[in-house]
Amino acid sequence: MSDVRKLIIIGSGPAGFTAGIYSGRAELKPLLFAGEKQGGQLMNTALVENWPGAERGIMGVDLMMQMRKQAERFGTEIIDKKVGKVDFSKRPFKVWVGEEEYLAEAVIITTGAENKMLGVPGEKELLGKGVAVCAVCDAPLYKDKIVYVVGGGNAAVEDALALTKYAREVKMLIRRDVLKASKIMAEKVKNNPKIEILWNSELKEVMGENRVEKVRVINNKTNKEQELAADGVFLAIGHKPSTEIFKEQLELDEKGYIKTSENETMTSVEGVFAGGDVVDSKYKQAVTAAGMGCMAALDAEKWLEKDYV
């Protein structure tokens, strides 16, 4: 594919679709790669209650499907594939999906963030077969089961509480001897008879043939290890920016977020812009991501008009 596009957008969360809406309206005919987890993190939530304008809240999926259609209405072309490689070393920039090559004068990166994994044996192999990263999504499949939640932050507590509606027993593995979650959330956990907290405990291995059967847990104070029966393991140890393919191409900060120039969305490469959770380690909201997607689109438009030679 040798024709050069004005703009390619990588990512399909609120930042990506908003960038699509704005640059579509600016008649840049953007091409947006939606990836394999299209719609971003909101696809994994139920009701979104803090999206301005949705007075009674809106389902995450509905919001994302509407954003997608809105972007398409203004001429954004969407491809439901994942970008595997980029080359920003010279213009036009190159973006690959498998073997297919796409060229663009400007690129906006809105790849967001993904769930962190522990990296213990069995975790990857049993993902989707008992190992899960989204309690809101999968909790109903764990009716009367024994599930473990790894993590002690607010997200972990929310997962544990969501699971109590279905599971028989919910056990939280906490690495330290305190909960990181807010006081209100921590109280809820402590008062819930279905939840048991295992303090100073770390997951060492997920075991099972084709589905989770057991977990190996170590107490980091006593070094005592035990194998415990389990049907599910929910990981809630935070998110990391999805920047693997940009490592050699753009400046990232020590945590892997893309660096942008202050008050602007331009990255370390002129003509490559970024917005949303992939640059934001602080706010991480749908509405802030959308705002940054808009900023990136406006910055890209201005740059294409003035500076692109």
Partner: protein, 107 residues
Amino acid sequence: MTAVHFSVKDFDEKVIKVKGLVLVDFYADWCGPCKMAGPVIDELAGEYKGKAVVGKVNVDENQELSSKYGVMSVPTVVLFKDGKEVDRMMGFKGKEGYENLIKKALK
């Protein structure tokens, strides 16, 4: 074309005893990505008519099936050939993801 719905009652007859390919989408009404996958599954049912049967199972109404086939995350698509599982895919990965499963098995 709308994909057929399988249930505990007719799963054996309509999937397991069928010669050839049957693609089954295990889904739930409360699952976000399932809502995106749904229309794609319907399209595939039409496009692969004669080559593969494409249908759906609601996991809430058919817990026996989801637990029998180890579905612990939705959507999960399981591809059967002559009644035996030959492939599966978890999560919605676009139309092409599902098509690749079918194409691979048709080869």
